[in-house]
Amino acid sequence: MSAITHEHEHDHDHDHKPTGIKRWLFTTNHKDIGTMYLVFALLMFFIGGSMAMVIRLELFQPGMQFVEPQFFNQMTTVHGLIMVFGAVMPAFTGLANWMIPMMIGAPDMALPRMNNWSFWILPFAFLILLLSLFMPGGGPDFGWTFYAPLSTTYSNDSTALFVFSVHIMGISSIMGAINVIVTIWNMRAPGMTWMKMPLFVWTWFITAFLLIMVMPVLAGAVTMVLTDKYFGTSFFDAAGGGDPVLFQHIFWFFGHPEVYIMILPAFGIVSAIIPTFARKPLFGYASMVYATASIAVLSFLVWAHHMFTTGMPVFATLFFMYCTMLIAVPTGVKVFNWVATMWRGAMTFEVPMMFALAFIVLFTIGGFSGLMLAITPADFQYHDTYFVVAHFHYVLVSGAVFSIIAAAYYWLPKWTGYMYDERLGQLHFWCSLISVNLLFFPMHFVGLAGMPRRIPDYALQFADFNAFISVGGFLFGLSQLIFVWVIVKCARGGEKATAQVWEGAEGLEWQVPSPAPYHTFDTPPEVK
């Protein structure tokens, strides 16, 4: 009922917020901060994407045409860093900021000033990272995984900036995660029990714990790289009693949970969209929660499957192979639950649903190649080839990124108060769906045929496929311009959105008017 009181207060809400740039600099409002995170993520998506375009341009034909190998390596490295830390993670944090308080009936995030701080340090982190590209010797060029000693003894002078920038990103993520946990734990509306929380809230809750546990490990890894390079330590240098493989253990102890940090919120989004457009409750809510939790626990036990070729003892290899195969089980449960939710529903196919359906199919394809990669003897052939590139782009682009796009379409009417242009949205969807597969599907074949990843030039047999992949890449890049067009158009006006927006939508966020007033749930709603 608070929604109704808010309609009256709506006009007063604007009174106590500064206007212009100050509003955005000093804001502690979860909706403003969420918007800033989302816009920042979109910007980073295009910057990281333009680096991918440079990569695809160079790989369009065999031979070196446009860039030097050194610069090519900087592009692959910074593309990865920006997409992971600048695009996908901030986009999910933005969605969390906007939606979690509204979904649990809280007036704001629990720690609003920290919220402001955790966003505003991010642009500086990426400014440092991007500006390091202009240093003599260039920016980081050792891959986003920055394996030592390539990143220590053999790296260029920008490494210190890289380390600093990753530290800032980590601090931002940790603060964001603390905020999510404190908010969910303390600020749920009366009656919003744990097992009534929407799955997006649940998946983010678990993701936040993963973040708190692994971001400090990443901070440790970059700090050791820093001291190895500049202060004479030998963590990763055999000559001083260290071990370069130790770096990989530390990195992937962060890196594998990180993979789930980038996909668990996506599971939450899809679990919100499918029931809405199938007009049927989510199948197996409890098992979804348990599956998410078990994926999170297992994610700490599989890190060395990234390292099968490093020469581990055979029993360690077997342990990591079995654990990795085991992850397929809870992940399978999720996919089965989504399909069962659709079964005998009454589906309609608006843009959010289309992206969610594409997510299920394409993420599952990425899951299948993941299962193949788990089979250690076969992994010896797949490892560090384009097969791996295909795998993780299927789960990250047509997985995580598609879910973020789906979420944007799903909640845009709630954010702006206007319906987006359905025809343009459908155009965006079909262009994205076709081009993303032209881009990433052939990579499976190129990898199986033996093309290593992270090479700027290749043997002639790979030429045709790479030309094809590049064309797919350019089309995918162009398709995303439609997305910007849709968002801008929707923000500027259009058909008015109702409070519920979607016929089948359920949950607290659909009870407040669209656009959601600046402050929601000053008095907590009653959840039955």
Binding site: G63, P69, V333, V361, S369, G450
Partner: protein, 381 residues
């Protein structure tokens, strides 16, 4: 809009048509390889692939059936069921059983792959930026294996050859039908030695030794590449292995030992000789193009911030002894390697002379094999 869609659909068709006409063809699947292990790996790959296909067909089949049948446009009323413990247990248990079925053969193959005991031939494989070094532990044979593709082909100034980027000056030679053990290590960063036809991919870690093995059935030439990002020229350090019948292999060993012994004898003779400037410069340029150009560049300007310039270098111009020393012993903690153990005395003398006189350095100096030898032995000039 319909036109745009038509265009979008026709594009892949056009591209496929274009690729069908191309001259070089790429296999679309993992190689079966030429060893028992690689066949097993291929079988595992195909098994898990078909398992995924079947599961995919079932799940996507049900999903698309649902999408077609259970749509609001057909006027259906949504059901409201949302739970079934029976179904949940079923679709947890079935995958577990499938996975156990898959884990058993995978474990067997893995254990076989890791068994490096009772090898007939052992080769120490050492990666460095950006070349491989092979040392036969049972013979007096060791040599470097460098990319043989001319830089002009990479720069698109010459037409690319059939084995573009997959050719080396001296391939590794192994006997067929024998168990060959590889010991992998590295001099600088992590590399990874990969020959798809053997299903052998193992990281070469600096300061540690990894093991792998193969038993090749078919004589032939097998090509692979470095599989771990190892810096600028990671894409330019191929692996080429020639598998020969045991008799041919023996003949090669004898010949190679003789070649290496002769080269060593020639080195000793060289110490007493003085080469003339023209010869030094000619050899020096050849060595520079093969070993130095990747970092210090054809211009001698290096890459600012990463690789120092040779042109106008104070060290080159002012300190002859230090110049010889850095090339012979390298500079620890940097990418500058100790070329004293990679090149012959003649090559070292030539490349030092070359860098002292090329790139407008014009010192007029000729460095002789004996000068290099003196530094190598730790004596002053």
């Amino acid at each position: 809009m319909t036109n745009a869609r038509c265009l979008l659909w026709s594009l892949p068709t056009l591209l496929f048509a274009a690729s069908a006409n191309a001259s070089t063809s790429m296999p679309l699947n993992m190689t079966r390889g030429v060893t028992e292990i690689s066949q097993q790996v291929y079988q595992l790959h195909m098994t898990i692939f078909w398992i995924c296909c079947v599961i995919g067909a079932v799940v996507f089949g049900i999903m698309f059936w649902s999408i077609i049948r259970h749509r609001k446009a057909r006027g259906v009323q949504p059901a409201q069921f949302h739970e079934s413990t029976k179904v949940e247990i079923l679709w947890t248990a079935i995958p577990v059983v499938i996975l156990i079925g898959m884990a058993i053969p995978a474990t067997k193959t893995l254990i076989a792959m890791e068994d490096t005991s009772a090898a007939d031939v052992t080769v120490l494989v050492t990666g460095s930026q950006w070349k491989w070094h092979y040392k036969y532990l049972d013979h007096e044979i060791e040599y470097f294996s460098l990319l043989a593709t001319p830089r002009e082909q990479i720069a698109n100034k010459l037409a690319k050859g059939e084995n573009y980027l997959l050719e080396v000056d001296r391939p590794l030679v192994i006997p067929t039908g024998k168990k060959v053990r590889f010991l992998m290590t590295s001099d600088d960063v992590i590399h990874s030695w990969w020959v798809p036809a053997f299903a052998v991919k193992k990281d070469a870690n600096p300061g540690f030794i990894n093991e792998a093995w193969t038993r090749v059935d078919e004589p032939g030439i097998y090509r692979g590449q470095c599989a771990e990002l190892c810096g600028k020229d990671h894409g330019f350090m191929p692996v080429v292995v020639i598998a020969k019948e045991p008799a041919d292999y023996q003949a090669w060993v004898v010949q190679e030992e003789a070649r290496i012994a002769a080269a060593k004898a020639a080195e000793r003779e060289l110490l007493a000789m003085n080469m003339d400037m023209a010869e030094l410069m000619a050899t020096g340029e050849r060595v520079y193009q093969g070993w130095c150009v990747a970092c210090h560049q054809a211009s001698g300007n290096g890459l600012p911030g990463i690789f120092p310039a040779i042109r106008g270098s104070q060290l080159v111009l002012n300190d002859r002894r230090a110049h010889i020393d850095i090339i012979v012993n390298g500079k620890p903690g940097t990418a500058m390697q100790a070329f004293g153990r990679q090149l012959s005395l003649k090559e070292l003398a030539a490349v030092i002379t070359y860098t002292r006189n090329a790139f407008d350095n014009n010192t007029g100096d000729a460095v002789q094999a004996a000068d290099v030898y003196a530094v190598q032995q730790g004596k002053g000039e």
